[in-house]
Symmetry: D2
Subunit: 334 residues, 4 copies
């Protein structure tokens, strides 16, 4: 970490800073130039609160050299993490497609979709039981009942299940869930992240609508700092000024996260744009860009679906897509 | 709500839609043109899930005429809401400044600041006990102990206290807190909002970094739908491409929210930019633009503060600011 | 176009509007509902100035059904446009890679790069003679001399040349240039677009940093309205809050533009992120997402290049990339 | 400027860099640490092309200490610049309101508005003759004829006139124009800026929709580097994700630009949001935040105006606003 000091720095304040750094295990190296004075911090600066340093009267700017994330950092863990979901592996060359309906609606709907996506090769079933909706008047999901239906579908098909948690108090309901999803709106719900860090469940962490890659990795760090290393990152589109699509898929996030972290990275092309007809091109693009997997909405009757049908594929379209993704896999620049 | 249908609409699907709407109490009025067919929805369309309609195969686009929020909507509640915080009123012509440190650090720090902001005319004391921090390695607040110190300061000074909640499970600790703050990162933590809707505490709801005004009002609607009408809205800057400031204060939000809702609207000029030297101009601007109040960070020793000192005013600077805001009040275009 | 009128509309103003529309060839169809009145506009509404209608006192909102672009609209020209650049075709199934240095620096540099990209299969050579630079103190390009060097490289290699214009007064210098590029910063330099519309040169139109797809198509429309139908669109990243990359590549733009327009669509993965190590994954992703071509920066000595070396590939890396793009072509979902 | 070098830096490349810097008059100071090596650049680094340094293989990151603008920089010109427009002064404590219609429509319209804004105290008349419009099918302005009408209004009322230029080739038409405006879409039309730098006309430079303050100042620098120091900066809203308003007024830009530059700063509250009912609160806010002036759209018949009527005030509303702005002036924190 490089701290650029203001001109005419107060000596006492500078000493205060140097001593305070020493107390937390960081050595400082002062270098005075003709026009500016620089303090180089040496040691494990991931523990240093950058805002705290910036706050000081004597400081002009602070530049991190070392990234503020540690457990998630590829520099300290050069090998890819492989997350093992009851035998289904993701990361480190293992590619998985997670498929299923936006919301769990009924046993019939869920089981029908589960069977068809299984036939197309998916090993993981997604389905929303708790649904984060902008409006309190929108359908909020089947909640507990939705989880039960997912577990039934799991029993029937052997697919591993992936579903979203919205509050740590619901954790007991997720005991038999295979992968717990943290939605974009909860990416910085730090109390929830801490609680998930104390489980050993695989966590699918979605990037927030307006969060940087660095913030995504810091949220992963919250989970990992608690002891749970099974984090899967998910790019799902960010909020921009463009209005044709609901969000803008940040495809560069895939190769960039690959550099920065050893965790598996998947892409959600369904939520990224909200348009089912863009799912195919974005899935292929994400695959060749090096993603470790995809999470795709599939509905047996998108035209009558009561939630996010606009972004769902039919089972037939999904089957075709799964084949195309499989064929293109060898060309991935992973 | 106006639904623009696609050309060559399937008749059966159209009937399905019309019947489904009837079931939820909405009448439809079909009008066929040479180039397009329009379905006008009549009734309380705030209960209609717009995504659900958009999802249908036969629908090209949907335009809301009526806003999707109801309890928060000025159309249905033309008079300003006045939130009464144990006798301290905000809204409807009552202007309040909430002041205090970013984080509660110690009894000495908090009480010193509380006494000085009281002397400058503030009737509400802010102070973070639970702190949402990007990094798990940053100071997370004094938590329970912080709440206790706030209650001590309240006892000593008579100031009402305002502090942030990060998880519904902490609610018992907030029993004697006067105003519960929901931070920007939790604006769409819907489970938390629902739980706060079942209390009768005044809630200070901050706009999310990447949330529209419509989404802010829908989050207020979550609280109000639960029965709690005591919601204060807070503009605190949005995330843009500009990098000189941490966020971009959306000053237009003040007069726009004034039109759309009857709830009190305050501005946080400290978090909006992260620069203490901008707090004065932005406070004056917000006041004349019609805000019902301000929430301002004050620290007795910003240069040594261990959190967000860069955006805090000294008690002296705050005293000067409070006077200027008072003088400019009569010119507010509220 | 659907015009939603305010309640209590002034009759005279409404008649004024209807008559004014009739004058420009648009028929209106009035439909009164219990809660709102709608005016449907029938005819060629691409000539209607939407802001003008919105401006009226009696209008609440205006929704376009028909896109405001006509010449560029796939609805009116279902077949793909193939732009013919002196025998080198792009669009309609013809894929091209445009390669070359960011700036033309010297004859030696340019010819060396031209020969190597030709060997790798490129048929078009890019190279900046006029350089738009944020700072007046940065290298502004070799200008006239740069164009001359490009023409020399063209003579030597037979490659078609692509270079940027910054002002219409420079047009005479571009007489032997094969494709004239309009840079992102000039996408809404409407006077320049009009002048280019009066030439018959192929125009490579880059999307502005903060421009929507609709605005990009309207800028193409400026050129096409003048009579020049040879427009190639280029996605090159948009400005967002993310800071790891210079811009955010909007990959969804490729399939979306494919739907909206018949014009060829290419991607610039070099400028999209500013990082050479992302050029490969983004090139592959763009290709499978359906792009008609790529424009890639190649420099024989990126480490010593005096402009944008950070985003340039070496000739060797480009050769490898060209092969990979060629291999992945059959999987494009074009 | 601080250059952070990569570990294991190639010695020859480092020497190349140091020598190249010496050639352009910059001394370097190397400081090796245990974990990183830093090169401090000393001298006039505003001439250094930062992208060029970043491009080098051996460089990890570059941090500017000194801003890249020089003529516009307050550090080198501590006193406020006062721009003198034929006796009407702006900046350095002189506050001006520029008022008039979006577009010049007719002699009658323009003269009527000119007389009324003059009566309300305005000394500068705005009016668009050349209009940048997204669509080629929208009204493009009266062009030459519009300029002539502005000159007539100037003759009649004595008001100074302000109007937009869209292409340098039109400069001869602007000989008797008092202030030449560069619109947001042309803020980075560098060839135009260079040409304006060679005139001695006051230039009103509007911030681009997606441009940072630093880029705005660099565009001012283009004009000033040519010798023309009469630049007035204008904040007019930036593009964000919020859709209620056309743009988001960045009010913080006023005090921030005040710190960074000595040039006058005005605000355009009409274009910032596109809603006339927000012009009053935003004008008052901008004034107290320290602006040197306002540019406001006034139309004698906004409901029938054929361009941007939605954001125009009536002469009566403008008269009231001008009084309120006058009354609030003493409270400005300029």
């Amino acid at each position: 970490m490089i701290v650029l000091l203001k001109n005419n720095t107060d000596k006492e304040q500078l000493e205060n800073l140097i001593n305070w750094l020493k107390d937390i295990g960081i050595e400082s190296h002062l270098s005075k130039g003709a026009h500016s004075t620089i303090l180089g911090l040496i040691g494990d600066t991931s523990v240093v609160d950058i805002d705290l340093i910036k706050a000081l009267d004597i400081v002009q700017s602070v530049t991190r050299i070392q990234e503020p994330f540690k457990n998630a950092n590829r520099k300290f863990h050069p090998d890819d993490t492989v997350v093992d979901i009851g035998g289904v592996k993701i990361g480190g060359g293992n590619f998985q497609i997670i498929a299923g309906p936006c919301s769990v609606e009924s046993e019939e709907q869920l089981c029908s979709i589960a069977q068809s996506v299984k036939k197309s090769g998916a090993k993981l079933l997604r389905g929303g039981a708790f649904k984060p909706r902008t409006s309190p008047y929108s359908f909020q999901g089947l909640r507990e009942e939705g989880i039960e239906l997912l577990l039934k579908a799991k029993k029937m098909t052997g697919l591993k299940i992936v579903t979203e948690i919205m509050d740590a108090s619901h954790l007991p309901l997720f005991e038999d869930v295979d992968v717990i999803q943290v939605g974009a709106r909860n990416m910085q719900n730090f109390e929830l992240l801490k609680d998930l860090g104390m489980t050993n469940k695989p966590i699918l962490l979605k990037r927030g609508l307006a969060n940087t890659l660095s913030e995504l990795l810091m949220s992963a760090e919250y989970i990992m700092a608690g002891g749970n290393q099974n984090v899967i990152l998910c790019e799902r589109g960010i909020r921009t000024f463009e209005t044709y699509t609901r969000n803008t898929l940040d495809i560069s996030a895939v190769p960039l996260l690959r550099e920065l972290t050893h965790l598996p990275i998947i892409v959600d092309p369904s939520h990224a744009t909200g348009l089912s007809r863009l799912v195919k091109p974005l899935s292929l693009a994400s695959t060749v860009a090096g993603a470790d997997g995809l999470i795709i909405e599939v509905h047996n009757d998108p035209a009558h679906a009561l939630c996010d049908g606009a972004q769902s594929l039919t089972p037939e379209a999904f089957d075709e897509l799964a084949k195309m993704v499989h064929n293109i896999q060898p060309f991935s620049c992973r």
